[in-house]
């Protein structure tokens, strides 16, 4: 367990969420009990409420190659990385959901397909946009961001519901190993695509599907820039049922680092698990959850005497994440 955990300092952050891009305002709204949920405008789905990011991302030269959430991620990461030197000491770690198909822009090419896949090209695939593969490539946002930001150092793209925690953990270890001096961690995910909404509607467990993008800049704790840190974060990405040993192991490991004042869970956790209002406010946001928890929990901690928070999340299938956030005194 300890092999996965290495705290690092967060020196910048940005997000795009259902409660807006202004972090202070969003935390204030969250603490006031507000939510980014809106009534689902599409009656074909049985999901009653969704938490979308309002509006469209700003236009960029990458518009032909990225989809909406990727554009939000590029926007957030570009802002968070302002002023960072582009070189081999700058790492980039990306997280994409990927457990969901995200084929929403391609379903028109799928609906006439045969079950056996015969004549798939003639039955619709030929109508798909020539750039579809770039748009859907798992590391496309990563590649474009690396070029834009000049991030030539260590890096990787992670997938799945725990990808945000994987990316933070990998960045932390690259920093501690001295492979890089600065890490940008960026994540984007959305549960607001047709197949996921249909599936969630059939389950009818009251989940609030949402979407978000977020970015962090991380440095080593002994880096001079860490003196002005916003928070310290350590992340764990595990597997197993959220009530099982995997989650307990992460909690134990973080508890060993000192007292925990506040715990945030998400809707996928059992009702008995302690939780704050983050998932209710921002919706289920998959791979972005650990990043949004980092920012939101730090925002809560700064308004209280509490110093340390634990953020837990569970995503399908059997992926769990845990992060420990500590704010400066």
């Amino acid at each position: 367990m300890t092999a996965m955990i290495a705290p690092v300092a967060v020196i910048a952050w940005r997000w795009r969420t259902a409660l807006g891009a202004d972090i202070e305002a969003a935390v204030t709204r969250m603490l006031a009990g507000e939510s980014g949920a809106i009534a689902n405008p599409e009656p074909a789905y049985r999901v009653r409420a969704i938490a979308p990011i309002a509006g469209a991302p700003p236009r960029t030269r990458h518009d032909r190659f990225v989809r909406r959430l990727g554009a939000f991620a590029i926007d957030a990461a570009t802002q968070v990385a302002a002023g960072l030197a582009p070189d081999l000491r700058l790492g980039l770690y990306s997280a994409v959901g990927g457990l969901r198909a995200h084929w929403d822009d391609m379903l028109a090419a799928f609906v006439r397909q045969r079950d056996d896949g015969i004549d798939a090209w003639a039955l619709g695939l030929r109508e798909i946009h020539p750039f579809w593969m770039l748009r859907h490539l798992s590391n496309n946002v990563h590649a474009l961001l690396a070029a834009d930001l000049g991030a030539r150092g260590d890096g990787a793209t992670y997938g799945g519901a725990s990808a945000g925690a994987q990316a933070i953990a990998a960045a932390a270890w690259a920093l501690h190993a001295g492979a890089i001096d600065t890490a940008i961690v960026v994540a984007h995910d959305s549960l607001l695509e047709p197949e996921t909404l249909v599936e969630l509607g059939e389950r009818d467990q009251g989940q609030l599907p949402g979407e978000a993008a977020a970015a962090l800049v991380l440095v080593r704790p002994d880096d001079p820039r860490a003196r002005d840190r916003l928070a310290s974060v350590a992340a764990f990405a595990g597997a197993g049922a959220p009530t099982g040993d995997a989650m307990r192991g992460a909690i134990d490991a973080f508890s060993a680092m000192g007292p925990i004042d506040l715990v945030d869970g998400d809707h996928a956790l059992p009702a008995a698990t302690a939780r704050t209002a983050i998932a209710a406010a921002f919706g289920e946001i998959g791979a972005v959850t650990p990043l949004v928890q980092t920012i939101a929990l730090a925002g809560i901690l700064k308004r209280t005497r509490a110093r340390v928070a634990l953020g837990l999340a569970a995503g399908e299938p059997d992926l769990i994440t845990a992060i420990r956030i500590e704010v400066p005194a």
Partner: protein, 291 residues
Amino acid sequence: MIDWAAEPAATLPAMRFRSPVDTAARAVRRALGLRGPTTINVSACAAGALAVAEAASLVARGARAVVCGGADSMVNPLGIGGMARLGAPSPRAAPDACRPFDRDRDGLAIGEGAAMFIVEDLASARARGARPLAAITGWGATQDAYRATAPRPDGSAAAAAIARALTRAGLAPEAIGYVNAHGTGTPLNDPAECCALATVFGAHVAKLPVSSIKGAIGHLMAAAGAIELAACVLALTESLLPGTAHLRHRDPACDVDVIGPSPRRAYVEHTLSNSFGFGGQNASVILRRMP
């Protein structure tokens, strides 16, 4: 989002287009009853190599054993069609479609496959009676930060990944006895990779055997780095360096010692495997022969 209301009766066919990225990881986890941390690397064609490198890093930090590797297939209408539209595959429908380092190369051949490893602390492996096949001694990763669809032509970021792997392994460039190249057989990749090799290895590159197995098995995309590490393991255990299938006329722009179609018998101590992902994610991994 799709205008679902315009297709009120539409349902997706039973044929599944969904591609959960952790399908293989989940299956392995369940089959083996694994309960530890799980990482799902989706760094395009560098994913398999990065997964193994991350496993080695975990073991170096104290993990006892890690199951790692890669699995991928784009041999389906969507994958083949999409890659064709990007112009990456060879346009020729021939068994020798992929010819890495050949002057007449014109693209890759899409493949599919998987390779998995147990990466384990050496003492732990020996204590349970396992026969270690090779040691992972070095790894390095960088990013081209260049273009989404083309490698950096001077290979400088790829060279930095190789250099980092050598540094981690504590090796001089001359210690490497074989390079399993990324060697996609595309017009842009191969000369850029040779530039990277020349940058790192200098004069040694003239007598450094290099080959690509993609001419034989195709490009396994996310699994490529894993299966090419397996080729390096076999090069060490069998003292036989794999050849470069379908190589007839080496491209003068690829001025390295490319092994031809036939394998070359050689005893080497250290191998280097390169995986340079679409979008410019570079990974290099060094293996050492076990005594």
